[in-house]
């Protein structure tokens, strides 16, 4: 393999990993606050379809991305209202959200299937994009990819060294104690759920506006579920989510590249590669049980009822 091929593979890896990073970061923050939202897939699909519709009608991709984010937030608010305010079962509500999002997006997008779109173009970062190899891989991407870098850094920083991060963790660990400390548990959870929705909407928008600029029913193809497991295997750490997502991206590209070589493995076996590789590495990373347990939000999935 020559250097250009490797560069191209890594370039594609970053693009493939991006939607996973976006959703997984959102879900991580959401779970850190103690809310398990299984509605990722539904929120992504809504972001994808509404963003695409906005792009076709307004012709403005910036507006389209914003609307995709907004769609994700609205969907997450529906989930938040049911699971936080009305204290419903989070798992059931999340699943309902996924099914609902899948159906509603198919219904809304019925007339938009088969329409072509130019899509978000790459934006070269001055100077940095001229660096050989590295420049091509990291700095000749589209703006949404850069946004995923920024968001990962932001989430890492918030949980590493801010009071906000501490508050979110407190709410996810022990909401009663957090409440006693004067933190408004419901407000924090709502904010985190909305952040999760915004990121899922953004990831959906990335798919329908940048990655494959088209709308088709069920186009997320299970990425929301992969992101969901990524969060767990990454033991709720932003940097590991990034690693896992890129690993997954690289493995899915390799599964296609290897087919062209003399490497004779059945394609269906190769198709498993991304899943196996990602789980394998992340399990290795989180093999220290005590540490992993420390990272798991203790009240994950438990609705909080304020004591009156």
């Amino acid at each position: 393999m020559d250097i250009e091929l490797i560069t191209n593979i890594l370039y594609a890896t970053i693009r493939t990993g991006t939607p996973l990073i976006l959703v997984a970061l959102g879900e991580m923050v959401c779970e850190k606050s103690g809310v398990l939202n299984l509605g990722q897939e539904g929120m992504m699909l809504m972001g994808a379809v509404v963003g695409f519709m906005a792009a076709v009608t307004t012709g403005n991709l910036f507006v389209a991305v914003l609307i995709a984010v907004l769609a994700g937030i609205l969907m997450s608010l529906l989930f938040g209202f049911l699971s936080i305010s009305l204290v419903s079962n989070q798992v059931a509500t999340g699943l309902a959200l996924t099914i609902f999002g899948g159906g509603l997006s198919a219904f809304l997008g019925a007339n938009y299937v088969g329409i072509g779109l130019d899509g978000v173009q790459a934006m070269f970062i001055p100077l940095l994009s001229d660096i050989p190899v590295i420049g091509k891989i990291f700095f000749q991407q589209d703006p949404l990819v850069y946004l995923s870098f920024i968001m990962a850094g932001l989430v890492y920083w918030v949980f590493k060294s801010t009071r906000l991060g501490l508050n979110i963790r407190a709410v996810g660990e022990n909401p009663e104690a957090a409440n006693a400390m004067g933190i408004n548990v419901h407000r924090v959870r709502y904010m985190c759920v909305m952040f999760g929705g915004a990121m899922a909407g953004l990831a959906g928008g990335y798919l329908s506006l940048a990655y494959t600029p088209l709308w088709s029913e069920g186009m997320t193809a299970g990425k929301g579920w992969i992101a969901l497991s990524l969060v767990v295997f990454a033991s709720w750490k932003a940097e590991r989510i990034m690693l896992g997502a890129y690993l997954f991206g690289a493995a899915s590209i390799m599964h296609l590249i290897l087919q062209g070589t003399r490497f004779e493995i059945a394609p269906n076996l190769l198709a498993m590669l991304p899943y196996v590789a990602t789980i394998f590495v992340l399990v290795l990373l989180s093999s220290n049980r005590a540490k992993t347990k420390l990272n798991t939000p203790k009240s994950l999935g438990v609705p909080y009822r304020p004591q009156l």
Binding site: L5, S88, Y211, Q259
Partner: protein, 371 residues
């Protein structure tokens, strides 16, 4: 208060779950009219949504064509996104029992459900696409898109500069293998140095994965791409990367004005009109049809003007020969991947051999997974 909260939650959940059933739209009229030969009711069962620019889209276009051609004499209904299996049987039975005279079931997996329902409704005629079993009131039909593949292969062979052509394929079943081989036959006929690289994506429909596969092929020097999957992602990728692409199922030119050279398309309209007329006249009989360019069931979309006039003329000539029946796509000599002659110079492959195609011809690069 607690009770009210609980009630609210439950009703909201029910509403949320009820919303999901929207994806399967059923369009049937309630009353079953008296069976009459002055007008008939024709039903269609689709496996995916009608707007997918792929397989189902082509059948729905034909349904509209049927309505336009026969006007008041037919009333058509359809059910889309019907999963293959138990659901299909329920949908088909429902159609049969509410007054449909002719039902087209348009996916391979509907074969057994169709036969099962047909046995209980001897007065209703059934037509199943792409299957191989028939019954007294069940006929089957399929197109020969491989003929279109061959013609588009001629164009690809002429247009490639790197002599590498990429093929994104779904599953290694005979239908897909036949298409790859026919395409390669066309490519090699005009350009013996070119190879066709095949990448399996193991899915009929996943735009992201199709795009990744297309990008991989471009990385490996391919400058003309084609696909046997259901989305237009490959065409879009080629457009974005400044390469050429050839579509499948329907005219995909709107996804890449510069990239799109042509597409192999299905045209079921004339067949559907003929079958509906046969039921109207009471002359319907079961058939096993395999229709190609000669019958108009397979065709090429308009060829992009980037393609030189002499290439267009050559394609038109070959197409005319296929139409007249003076030429066959899989005429010998045909070698397999290892260069061993499988079909001799004076021979050509029979339909039976084509239906069971399980080896690649010379010029295909890629492995055919054995089951």
């Amino acid at each position: 208060m607690k009770l009210i909260t609980k009630l609210l939650t439950t009703s909201a959940m029910v509403a949320a779950i009820a919303g999901c059933s929207d994806s399967t739209t059923e369009e049937t009229t309630a009353a079953a009219p008296e069976m009459s030969k002055d007008s008939i009711k024709v039903g269609f069962v689709y496996v995916s949504p009608t707007g997918d620019a792929g397989w189902t889209h082509s059948h729905d276009q034909a349904r509209k064509y049927l309505e336009a051609q026969l006007g008041d004499k037919v009333e058509t209904t359809y059910v889309e996104s019907v999963p293959e299996g138990a659901d299909a049987e329920r949908v088909i039975r429902n159609m049969a029992s509410n007054g449909h005279n002719l039902i087209f079931t348009t996916s391979f997996g509907y074969m057994n459900p169709t036969l099962k329902v047909a046995a209980r409704f001897p007065d209703v005629k059934f037509e199943h696409a792409s299957g191989y079993k028939q019954a007294e009131n069940v006929g089957s039909y399929f197109a020969r898109p491989y003929q279109g593949r061959y013609l588009s292969g001629l164009i690809a062979g002429k247009m490639t500069k790197t002599n590498v052509i990429g093929y994104v394929a779904a599953f290694p079943i005979p239908e897909v293998v036949r298409g790859i081989n026919a395409f390669t036959k066309g490519v090699r006929e005009v350009n013996p140095d070119a190879i066709v690289k095949v990448v399996w994506v193991s899915t009929w429909f996943d735009p992201a994965k199709e795009r990744e596969a297309a990008e991989t092929l471009i990385l490996q020097n391919a400058d003309v791409l084609t696909q046997h999957t259901d989305s237009a992602a490959v065409i879009q990728t080629a457009e974005a990367k400044g390469k050429y692409a050839i579509g499948y199922h329907s005219d995909m030119s709107e996804y890449g004005a510069n990239a799109h050279l042509t597409s192999t398309i299905h045209n079921w309209g004339p067949l559907y009109v003929e079958k509906a007329k046969a039921v109207l006249n009471g002359t319907w009989k079961k058939e096993n049809l395999w229709l190609g360019i000669a019958e108009g069931a397979t065709d090429l979309a308009p060829i992009n003007d980037i393609v030189p006039a002499d290439v267009k003329a050559m394609v038109a000539e070959k197409k005319a020969a296929l139409k007249a029946g003076t030429m066959r796509v899989f005429k010998g000599p045909i070698n397999d991947q290892s260069g061993v002659e499988k079909v001799s110079k004076d021979d050509s492959m029979t339909d039976g051999a084509l239906l069971g195609f399980d080896w690649f011809i010379e010029g295909v690069s890629g492995t055919l997974p054995k089951s």
